[in-house]
Each structure stands twice: as C-alpha cells, then as structure tokens.
C-alpha cells in the first residue's frame, strides 16, 4: 500500500452531475422567466392585476417552485465549489457548508411562502 495515499472525502461526482443537469434546466427556465417577466409587457410596466391573474393558474406554483429549487441548488452548489477550491481547513469548510445550508433553507422558505401567497391572492 502506498503510504502517501491520503483520502480526504469521497463524493463530488453527484454534485458535479447535478450541477450540469440543473444548469440545463435553468438555461430553459431562466430564459422563459426573462421573456415573461422582463420583456413581454411591451411598452408598459408589469401590472399588479396581470401578475395576480397569471399567478392564479395551476402551472404557476409548480413552475416557480421548480425554478426556485434548481436556481438555489445551482447557485449554492456553485458557491460551495468555489469555497472548496480555497478552503483547506476542515473547520472552515464545515462553517461554510453550514452557512450555505442555512442560507439555502431560509431562501427556500421565503421563496416558497411567496409563491403560495401569490397563488392564493384574490383576483380583483
């Protein structure tokens, strides 16, 4: 056995694959998102009633939740990969990881709440 061999932590393959899968999903969803919310209300501002009406459709919460989940996973996993590049210290890696998980949990909570609220808003 090679005495120089030092295994640190396994893993890496699944996050790597999921990062790419979420990237492809995001590519489609983000372009759709931009077209619907940033481009398509040509010449005027996004209208409250319009948004409320759109948010009331059955596909809205599903699509938005999928979007939220993939965006959060892709973003936080990407950030973790950057931090991993520069953090050798075990303690700091744990701190970063915990921090990212908590940020993810909070944002997922706030985001889900927003989607539910928008979906259940009364149409005037």
């Amino acid at each position: 056995m090679n005495k120089d061999f030092k295994q640190t932590s396994r893993s890496g393959s699944l996050p790597w694959l999921l990062q790419r899968i979420s990237a492809v999903i995001l590519f489609v969803l983000l372009l759709l998102h931009f077209i619907t919310y940033h481009f398509l209300s040509k010449g005027r501002a996004v209208n409250y009633q319009e948004i409320v009406a759109k948010a009331g459709s059955w596909w809205f919460p599903l699509l938005q939740f999928a979007f939220l989940l993939t965006a959060l996973y892709h973003g936080l996993n990407g950030l973790w990969s950057v931090l991993e590049d520069y953090t050798a210290n075990k303690f700091w890696r744990l701190v970063w990881y915990g921090l990212l998980l908590s940020v993810g949990a909070v944002l997922l909570f706030v985001g889900t709440l927003t989607i539910i609220k928008l979906y259940t808003l009364p149409v005037a």
Binding site: N2, D4, F5, K6, Q7, S9, L17, D85
Partner: protein, 235 residues
C-alpha cells in the same frame, strides 16, 4: 546567425541568504537563435555561477527544465527566445516551493503521481508473450502516454495554486492513462482515489494545462472522459 542584446530578469532565491525571492536583471549578448536554456547556460557559465536551474537532455524529453517564462510555463530547452522578444522574465514554476532560484521542490508532484498507482495492476496472470491490444484499444489511451512528467501543466493550473493537495492535471492524466488501458484491472481503486474533493472534481476545465503542455496533450479532453467514467461508476 547574429548576436543580439537581451535583458533577462530572473527570480532569484538563495536559501539561507535570502528571506524571500527577488528579481535580478542580466543584460547579456546571445545568438538570436538561442533557446531559453542557452540563455541560462550563458548566464551560469559566463556571468553568475550561483544561478541554479535543472536541465538534462536539452531535447525536450527528460522534463527537467520546465519553468515560467514571460508568464507561461515552457520547457527551457525547446523554446526559442524569439518567441518572447528581447525581454525575458524567467521564474520557477508556480505553485511549487522554491529550493533555490529556478529549482522547485517536485516531491509533492511525484507523491501525487504515486497516489494514483502509475503502473499496470493485474488480476489475471500476465500472458506468456505479449499483451495484445487492438488499435482501437490503443486509441482509447491516445496521447495520454506521451507525458514526460515535466510538471508544467500542474504548475499552470489555477486550481493547484491555492490548494497544494489537489492531485493536478499530470497525476489525473496518468490515472486516465491506466483506467482506460484495456490491459489494466485497477480501474476501481484508481477511480476511488480520483473521486475525491482534491481529485478530478477540482478541475474546472480552464485549459491552462493544455496551453502549457510541451507535448500538446489534450489533457482537459481526457479529464472530461475521466469525470464521465467516475460518474458512471458511482451511479
């Protein structure tokens, strides 16, 4: 052939004497067809005998004289000075500790290479005569066998600079070379080693290794295939 005047800036570090590396400029005259190694030899033989650097075969096969010239890792012996003009800036390879002047400590580099077990691992008894490999099977390994272990790739990798534990392109390429060798049975052990936070997943397809490789090996392409193989193996 004509003599030209060039200015050579070299990062010097004398252990025990210098606290940290510092630049020294040599203004010398050399033949215009000189290589970087010729320039270093000229300085070492005629101007300053204390200048330390590694060289051996002077025909780009031993892999001793990789160094950073004007911001790029090259083999000193095969690189003509006219590629860089009349101002040269020569440094030791990045990411490695400096022993003296242009000589860096390559022990970690070879330790990482050893880690992926760079030799044929057999489960079955070896055949009596030759180990038959088809042209297609040889094609799988491709250029990955051409590596001369000069460390130019690993020293050019931005993932290696902050992380001395990262296996680096050279060791990962060697892992590819054996994992994809039809004669080898050690793929599982090597994949285990490569599938590590300091293994193949620190490669972010930056291509600095490919730019630096004096043998023009498409390292990133092989590492991409390696990643897919590791993913397939762990699914």
């Amino acid at each position: 052939m004509a003599m030209i005047d060039i200015s050579v800036k070299i990062l010097r570090y004398q252990p025990g004497k210098d606290e940290k590396p510092h630049w020294q400029v040599f203004n010398i005259a050399v033949e215009d067809e000189s290589t970087i190694l010729d320039v270093l030899n000229e300085i070492h033989w005629q101007h300053d005998g204390t200048l330390a650097y590694r060289r051996s075969c002077r025909s780009s096969i031993c892999g001793s004289c990789a160094m950073k010239v004007n911001g790029r890792n090259v083999l000193a012996c095969e690189t003509p000075i006219h590629r860089f003009g009349r101002k040269l800036k020569i440094e030791p390879l990045s990411g490695f500790d400096i022993i003296k002047d242009l000589v860096v400590d390559l022990d970690p580099f070879f330790a990482k290479l050893k880690r992926i077990r760079p030799y044929l691992i057999l489960d079955k008894p070896a055949p009596d005569k030759e180990f038959v490999q088809s042209p297609e099977q040889l094609e799988q390994i491709g250029e990955s066998t051409l590596c001369i272990l000069c460390a130019a790739c690993s020293a050019a990798c931005p993932s290696s600079w902050p992380n001395s534990e990262y296996l680096g392109p050279a060791a990962l390429l060697k892992a590819y070379r054996f994992i994809f060798d039809s004669r080898d049975d050690g793929a599982d052990q090597r994949i285990e080693i490569v599938n590590d936070k300091n293994g193949v997943w620190r490669c972010h397809t930056i291509f600095n290794c490919v730019e630096a490789c004096p043998k023009k090996i498409k390292i990133t392409e092989y590492l991409s295939r390696l990643k897919v193989k590791v993913v397939e193996n762990s699914l």
